[in-house]
């Protein structure tokens, strides 16, 4: 079965954080052969003035194919890890959404969009908690972490939000020039788009930057590029600054 895991607000100022927690959970899933995870992603949420002093307003998620018999052991393990990795003053939340058990996945997707726009109320969140196919856990603090965790799971489900954890490595790294086909064949990237979201042909050349990040678009690992204004290579991987919208 396919699950979507959302994690929010286990950030520690002295290191670690929800991104590392998500990476650890995917590793454990794989190593124990409980399931096959996809890479974790970071999702930007609404910047409410009241959240300023407490946290970065982002949440993490990943999807995975998991064998049903391992679902409960994974959920127990995930709860323990998120609780352990949260700082005493944080509001950690965890969500595991099982799409095939949900009567209407559009509900969590719509909820996630509303969280991203800063429009969600606690009552709406309470209504989401009771939905079939959703396992929702308030693991520390005032419980508000479940808002971001639900949103992260929903945004991941859209297939059109977030930036993946880790940096893409290919060839000799910074300055290496590869064709689109070489990138697709030798990395997890599935498609390459320019910043106008147009697909780049497989014979086009791309200069790899120093810090190459991959984003989630159309349910695919997507590498974003921008034009160099040169004949060769025609494209350069998009910078951190350019990708801040994802």
């Amino acid at each position: 079965m396919k699950i979507y895991v959302g994690i929010d607000d286990s950030h520690r100022r002295d290191g670690g954080g929800a991104g590392e927690t998500a990476s650890l959970l995917t590793k454990v899933l794989e190593e124990n052969r409980w399931g096959q995870p996809e890479l974790p992603s970071r999702h930007r949420l609404y910047q409410h003035p009241d959240t300023g002093c407490r946290k970065h307003n982002t949440a993490r998620s990943f999807s995975a194919q998991i064998e049903e018999r391992y679902l409960s052991v994974f959920i127990d393990y995930a709860c323990k890890v998120v609780r352990r990795d949260s700082s005493p003053d944080s509001n950690a939340g965890l969500v595991i959404a099982i799409s095939e058990r949900m009567t209407n996945t559009d509900e969590i997707i719509a909820y996630a969009s509303r969280v991203k726009e800063g429009l969600v109320s606690r009552d709406e969140t309470n209504r989401m908690i009771g939905k079939q196919g959703l396992h929702v856990f308030e693991l520390s603090g005032n419980g508000k972490g479940i808002i971001g965790a639900l949103a992260a799971a929903g945004l991941r489900m859209t297939g059109n939000d977030g930036q993946f954890r880790g940096k893409l490595q290919l060839g000799s790294g910074d300055g290496y020039i590869a064709t689109v086909q070489e990138i697709i064949e030798n990395t997890h990237v599935e498609q390459i788009k320019n910043m106008d979201l147009e697909n780049i042909d497989k014979d086009q050349s791309v200069r790899m930057g120093e810090k190459v990040k991959v984003v989630l678009l159309e349910h695919k690992y997507t590498l974003m590029v921008f034009p160099t204004e040169l004949q060769y290579p025609r494209w350069q991987t998009s910078t951190t600054h350019m990708l801040r919208m994802f």
């Binding site: 100022r13 991104g19 590392e20 910047q47 300023g52 002093c53 954890r165 810090k211 951190t240």
Partner: protein, 69 residues
């Protein structure tokens, strides 16, 4: 120019907003407490920037610096 304004929380909010990319690089260069954040939280191409610092907390218009002083 006033760079920081004291917020209601007793910490300092940057008055230059979220798109003052060059200036926050200069501020971070002179800051002894700069600490780069988790890779997922970086938004500036220049690593040493207040916008990439573990001690910044985003607000609607800008960010608050949570460093100890």
């Amino acid at each position: 120019m006033l760079v920081w304004r004291e917020s209601e929380l007793g910490k300092y909010q940057y008055t230059g907003g979220k798109e003052d990319w060059e200036e926050v690089i200069k501020i971070a260069a002179g800051c002894d407490e700069f600490l780069i954040d988790d890779e997922d939280e970086l938004v500036s191409d220049e690593d040493r920037s207040c916008y990439n610092c573990r001690f910044r907390r985003w607000t609607k218009e800008s960010f608050i610096c949570m460093r100890s002083e």
